[in-house]
């Protein structure tokens, strides 16, 4: 179980391969790995976004992500999980979040990964402030709903 906050650009696929390399037994036990990568779009609510600032609450953000991870482990048979989240200045196309779950079977991997991502969106203390190409700055008021 690993949680990382990154202040600079990260490569989600490299994070994954490094994680697996550090935990070689995982590949032999886990029959399923589910991965979600969220990236920053250049269009949001009808406007072109030049860049974005991701603020967080040092201490509570990590703690809340740990709590969410613990909840997922209580509900599903999770072998390992990895959450990587960007903070600070971000530009369109850059990854914001990586959530990966390893389990023996796919059902647990899919469901736990989805749970981590959806609950992160509603509970983890992060806030986005966009700067549009028009130079106007605005706070993102709320996240879109993951389930229609």
């Amino acid at each position: 179980m690993t949680i990382k906050l990154m202040h600079h650009l990260f490569d989600p696929w490299r994070e994954l391969s490094e994680y697996v390399r550090r935990e070689p037994e995982l590949a032999r036990c886990a029959g399923a790995q589910c991965v979600f990568v969220g990236t920053m779009r250049e269009m949001n609510q009808g406007a072109q976004v030049a860049h974005m600032m991701l603020e967080y609450y040092p201490g509570m953000t990590e703690r809340e992500l740990e709590k969410i991870t613990q909840e997922a482990r209580e509900r599903w048979a999770v072998l390992e999980s990895l959450i990587v989240h960007r903070v600070g200045e971000i530009t369109p196309g850059e990854p914001i979040v990586l959530v990966a779950v390893w389990a023996v079977h796919r059902g647990d991997a899919f469901d736990a990964c989805r749970y981590l991502m959806e609950v992160l969106k509603t509970r983890a203390p992060f806030w986005k402030k966009e700067t549009l190409t028009s130079q106007e700055a605005r706070w993102v008021i709320e996240n879109s709903r993951g389930y229609a």
Binding site: G38, L54, E55, Y56, Y57, G59, M60, R63, E64, H85, I96, V97, M117, L120, K121, T122, R123, A124, P125, F126, W127, K128, K129, W139, V140, I141, E142, N143
Partner: protein, 77 residues
């Protein structure tokens, strides 16, 4: 004998500061912290609260040494 009050995101900008320090004797719960620190009514549903980095409510009691944080709905991921 103080309570540390933190503000984040749009709320921090609106209030024009990142934190306040209150006399712990003067406040019993989060609601009183809000009123004493900001001098404004509680915006309905637009402000979330945490006490010692755990989600709380406006009637959560507070005591000396606590860290109380106010922030808008979260938008990460």
């Amino acid at each position: 004998m103080t309570i540390r009050v933190l503000y984040f995101a749009s709320l921090k900008e609106r209030l024009g500061r990142v934190e306040d320090h209150l006399d712990a004797y003067a406040v019993r719960d989060v609601q009183e912290v809000w009123h004493r620190a900001t001098g404004t009514p509680i915006p309905d549903g637009l402000v979330l609260v945490a006490v010692n980095q755990q989600y709380a409510t406006f009637d959560t009691p507070v005591s000396d040494g606590d860290e109380v944080a106010f922030f808008p709905p979260v938008t990460g991921g």
